[in-house]
């Protein structure tokens, strides 16, 4: 018998590659601000 070729739904998985870098900028930004604040107004602390 003749082989039947089934055109399956394109079901092989889509591959997605991602590189994610999580920075904790809120803390870094706030601490940098506080560093300069403490330096410029040292008389208040």
């Amino acid at each position: 018998c003749t082989p039947t070729v089934q055109v399956a739904m394109p079901n092989e998985p889509i591959t997605i590659n991602l590189n994610v870098k999580i920075e904790h900028e809120i803390l870094v930004k706030v601490d940098r601000e506080i560093d300069s604040l403490l330096k410029e107004n040292s008389n208040l602390f």
């Binding site: 809120i26 803390l27 930004k29 506080i34 604040l37």
Partner: protein
């Protein structure tokens, strides 16, 4: 009366919200004016930092409060979350 003297004499201490607090129960007039003056200048400085860091004022207040309390030297006072004054 300088801030350093007031702190070393245990008259004032750092609260957890970034501002000064009065430790003694019957503070003299110059202690009260010192604390009021310093706190209003601190608030203004915090507002400027908050806007340039793009965060709410309260985040600067809380984070600087945390750091000021950690930096407080031995023998000086800090206010605990419960509101009690504790000597380091």
């Amino acid at each position: 009366l300088s801030l350093d003297d007031a702190k070393s004499q245990g008259l004032v201490g750092e609260r957890s919200n970034g501002y000064l607090g009065i430790v003694v129960n019957n503070p003299s007039a110059d202690v009260k004016t010192l604390v009021a003056d310093i706190n209003s200048k601190r608030k203004q400085a915090y507002q400027e930092s908050a806007s340039s860091a793009g965060v709410e004022l309260q985040i600067i207040e809380l984070r600087i409060g945390q750091r000021l309390q950690q930096k407080t030297g031995g023998g000086q006072y800090i206010q605990t979350e419960g509101g009690a004054w504790q000597r380091k």
